[in-house]
């Protein structure tokens, strides 16, 4: 009998009621320990560049404009929200917030840039140990960094003294074009 089966269906459908979320019209907070957009606290950041060295997607870029000013740029468009930066920040300046509503039409909407003031050491400018002992530490970029903020590229080039000519050189960096693209 098709009618009895239909009635059975209605009874079965009524039992659970409405399960659909009313999400875009009602807020839905993320669960605890959810890793959303990382947020920098510029009052705590010391500009060590540890987050930039360890970011797997190379979303965090560092550029020394002069002896005293270092710019940190976070490009959230290719961030994988792994939380590595927040884990290793020595000053706990990075917090993984629970913000996940990041959809946007413009790529630049998910960026964060911080202008850091770096204090000058009286003896050597900035104290960087450029003589690296082990292989894993050699992967780290130490000293003054000149990443391309325009093309969002990490350039593996560092110096132990501020070099304005390298800054000018890398200022006009173009990413090599790929075949087919």
């Amino acid at each position: 009998m098709w009618l009895t089966s239909k009635i059975k269906q209605i009874v079965l459908a009524l039992k659970p009621g409405t399960v659909t979320l009313k999400y875009p019209f009602e807020p839905r907070p993320a669960p605890k320990d959810f890793r959303g957009q990382p947020v920098w606290d510029h009052t705590k950041c010391i500009g060590c560049g540890g987050c930039a060295n360890h970011c797997p997607a190379r979303t965090i870029l560092m550029r020394d404009l002069c002896q005293d000013i270092r710019v940190l740029l976070y490009d959230g468009a290719r961030c994988t929200y792994c939380g590595r930066c927040a884990d290793l920040c020595p000053e706990k300046a990075i917090v993984m917030s629970s913000e996940y509503e990041l959809a946007t039409g413009d790529r630049n909407d998910v960026t964060q840039s911080i202008e850091l003031f770096m204090l000058t050491c009286n003896r050597c400018g900035r104290c960087y140990d450029m003589e690296i002992k082990n292989v894993i530490d050699k992967l780290d970029l130490r000293g003054y960094r000149y990443d391309s903020l325009e093309t969002r590229t990490v350039l593996r080039r560092t110096t132990d003294r501020m070099a304005p000519e390298i800054l000018d050189e890398t200022g006009t960096f173009h990413r090599p074009e790929k075949i087919g693209g």
């Binding site: 875009p24 190379r58 290719r78 996940y100 990041l102 946007t104 909407d109 911080i114 087919g180």
Partner: protein, 179 residues
């Protein structure tokens, strides 16, 4: 007559968007979240959206994955097959900006290198709610929350570098030790 039809098409376009799911070398994380969005729990058919199998029936392309080199011509062909007007959603960090693979030799690095991406939904993978938020943003149901943040540390009143340099120049003992 053609102008009237194009006007009608642009007006009727946001009423019921049919989506075509295009995987351009994703790890299946984003694809599972897209399937999640189609389930009754996160019912996306409330907005008149429906998954279709052919790009010729679709209005919206859900692009997931950093475009790998073998899939690049296929993604371009699928995009051209969608009748205009059309939208492209870059779902996940890979489609939005290339993810971890933005620099790799066999990956084009992001959906923007193959097709014009209208809306990007970052996340690895994005939550189903984040995808729904992106869809609602495209339909104009919610306001955009993301905005660029620019912060600046307070600078010292005196330029420390110049001050130290001046001190070095006028410090006689310092010069004597050097000689």
């Amino acid at each position: 007559m053609a102008a009237l039809f194009s006007k009608l098409a642009t007006k009727a376009f946001p009423k019921s968007l049919w989506v075509y799911h295009c995987n351009s070398g994703a790890c299946n994380g984003c694809d599972i979240e897209i399937l999640n969005v189609l389930t009754p729990y996160y019912d996306i058919e409330r907005f008149g959206m429906k998954l279709v199998g052919s790009p010729r029936h679709a209005d919206v392309m859900l692009l997931s994955g950093a475009v790998t080199r073998p899939t690049l011509p296929l993604v371009k062909r699928a995009f051209e097959a969608i009748p205009s007007p059309k939208l492209v959603f870059g779902i996940g960090s890979c489609a939005a900006g290339g993810g971890c693979w933005f620099d790799t030799y066999n990956v084009m690095g992001g959906g923007a290198t193959a097709v014009p991406v209208d809306y990007l939904i970052p996340g690895c993978p994005p939550r189903p709610e984040a995808i729904i938020y992106g869809v609602a943003l495209a339909l104009g149901l919610v306001d955009k929350k993301a905005a660029p943040i620019e912060l600046k540390q307070v600078e010292f009143p005196i330029d420390a570098y110049l001050r130290n340099k001046a001190w070095e120049e006028r410090n006689v003992i310092y010069r004597l030790i050097k000689d």
